[in-house]
């Protein structure tokens, strides 16, 4: 048994292009993640950070290399990996409570016994409803159980989506720019909320964002993925150009965002990782994380 929850070995992703040939999006990604980490991934647009997340999710396959979770190869989306998307995470035809209960409801009982509403199934459903209600309260959604997703604000919707995924207690929770469509104050609220959840449930989170400040504030380990770098063999496609634990422990108080240290790191990554004009050489990458 490996020490790592998630392992990526020499992962490449290439897409065919119209003019013929292929374009490499992700170039030889190696990554080892321990259980309980809050990984945040940031990078310029087009760097393939969402592609990487979808490969871990299992909805996309690597062109080369392997991905393993608890030592098992990843084969399609399954319930040990939860997901929160920016949009379409919730089922529009179900109420908030039904959305949260959805996964538990499917456990153990097949289509037929659910359809026939057998006594065993009813009991199971009552128990799931109690668990779901607990989650609603923790998520500060206690009064919203009977509402439909379209009646909720963007922030509430994402809280429901997080509850819906978290109630299944996945080995890893994947989040694809979950707060990207929210206004600034809701976004900050949700960041704090996310850290609280992470502390309470000891979750492993893989959080993709295009907002560097968000990535540095949330992550216990920050990965910067970029296609803008220089190498001696002229290889193309994004690599991990920064892999480090932001200073000052984790989770961090909100004030940490305004410290000089935080600002300095922000500036440094923005320059080296996100600016297309600055091309760092492969050997200068800051891969200081102990698992890098």
């Amino acid at each position: 048994m490996s020490d790592y929850l998630l392992e990526l070995d020499g992962v490449f992703k290439r897409y065919p292009v119209k003019t013929g040939g292929e374009k490499t999006i992700l170039n030889n990604i190696d990554l080892r993640v321990r259980a309980g980490e809050f990984i945040s991934v940031v990078g310029p647009s087009g760097c393939g950070k969402s592609t990487m997340l979808r490969m871990i999710l299992g909805s996309e396959q690597p062109s080369e290399g392997s991905l393993r979770i608890d030592g098992e190869p990843i084969d399609g989306p399954s319930r040990e990996r939860g997901i929160v998307f920016q949009k379409y995470s919730l089922f529009p035809h179900l109420t908030v409570l039904e959305n949260i209960i959805f996964g538990l409801d499917l456990e153990e009982f097949g289509l037929l016994s659910r359809w026939l509403r057998t006594p065993g199934y009813r009991k199971h459903r009552r128990e799931s409803a109690v668990t779901a209600q607990e989650y609603l309260e923790r998520m500060q959604l206690a009064g919203a159980g009977e509402k439909y997703p379209h009646e909720l604000s963007g922030g509430m919707r994402q809280r429901v989506a997080i509850a819906q995924a978290a109630i299944m207690e996945p080995r890893i929770l994947l989040m694809d720019e979950p707060f990207g469509a929210l206004d600034d104050s809701t976004r900050q609220e949700m960041q704090l909320f996310m850290l609280e959840l992470w502390e309470r449930f000891k979750m492993t989170v893989f959080f993709v964002t295009h907002d560097l400040e968000e990535a540095l504030f949330l992550g216990s380990r920050v990965l910067v993925l970029s296609q803008y770098y220089e190498s001696d063999d002229g290889s193309e496609g994004a690599k991990i150009v920064t892999d480090k634990a932001p200073p000052g422990g984790h989770p961090r108080p909100v004030e940490s965002k305004y410290t000089a240290e935080f600002g300095e790191l922000l500036g440094q990554i923005r320059r080296n990782g996100l600016d297309p004009a600055v091309r760092q050489h492969v050997k200068d990458f800051d891969l200081s994380h102990r698992d890098a």
């Binding site: 319930r79 089922f91 035809h93």
Partner: protein, 270 residues
């Protein structure tokens, strides 16, 4: 001129009057034509008076014919039965479309075939159906099914395809099996749209029903109007046409109300 203003807001009474005006105009136009023709020829059968149509409708509805049948009743039951059986069979079309939209192997197997099948003019197949299935109920229902089935399959397929991929992935991460994704996530979401399509196809179903009945039947609303046509019995044909329209309208209304009641989550979409 308010008629050509986008921002115009007709008041409640104006709205009702406008809606009613064309109905009134049609009725008045008919009454006038009938009146003029009856002045020229009191025996005129082509544009019967309202009184004559009322009597004709009364005769078919409440007086037994030579065989002792209430014609309107048995016709309505016979046609209604054919209509309902056809609608029930559309359920199978919905399931086929759903599977095609969710499962790639079903799609590969069926899409081209159904798309081609959809283009066959069903009415042109009617002689073939009569030869194969005989003149009984089967060929009439087969005509309806062949005419409308592919449309319903393709519509359901397209709707199932349009459900965001994220929803399917999400379902799988919550432990749903492939069929649970199809039946618990995709089907309930597309159901209101599918019902709408079935509702809009009522017209096609009735069209095929009347075509089938007009050529081979012993009872049915479509059969009756083609039989009494021989005697130019407009006093029966016109009430029958109105009766069929009212039934179709009520069936349509019932489905619309059902959608509003059952799928209220899709309204007031943000």
């Amino acid at each position: 001129m308010n008629f050509f203003r986008i921002n115009a807001k007709p008041g409640k009474i104006t709205g009702i009057l406008l809606s009613a005006s064309l109905f009134l105009l049609a009725i008045l136009g008919y009454a006038y034509t009938s009146h003029v023709r009856h002045q020229e020829n009191p025996q005129d059968k082509v544009v019967p008076t309202f009184q004559a149509m009322g009597e004709g409708f009364y005769r078919t509805a409440f007086e037994e014919d030579r065989k002792g049948d209430l014609r309107l009743l048995i016709d309505t039951i016979a046609s209604g039965k054919r209509f309902l059986i056809s609608i029930a069979l559309m359920g199978i079309a919905v399931l086929i479309g759903l599977h095609m939209g969710v499962l790639p192997y079903f799609e590969a197997l069926l899409l081209r075939f159904v798309t081609f099948f959809d283009k066959i003019p069903a009415l042109a197949l009617l002689p073939i159906l009569f030869i194969i299935f005989g003149l009984g109920e089967l060929s009439k229902i087969a005509l309806i099914v062949i005419g409308v089935f592919p449309t319903i399959i393709l519509d359901t397929y397209l709707r199932a395809k349009a459900v965001p991929r994220e929803q399917i992935t999400k379902g799988l991460t919550l432990g749903a099996s492939d069929l649970e994704v199809a039946y618990n996530i995709v089907l309930p979401q597309i159901m209101p749209g599918v019902l709408d399509t079935i509702r809009l196809n009522f017209k096609a179903i009735i069209l095929f029903l009347i075509a089938g009945e007009s050529l081979s039947a012993t009872v049915g609303l479509g059969y009756r109007i083609f039989v009494v046509r021989r005697y130019i019995a407009m006093d029966i044909i016109i009430p029958y046409v109105i009766w069929m329209s009212v039934l179709a309208f009520l069936a349509d209304l019932a489905v619309r109300q059902f959608i509003r009641w059952r799928y209220h989550w899709q309204f007031e979409e943000a």
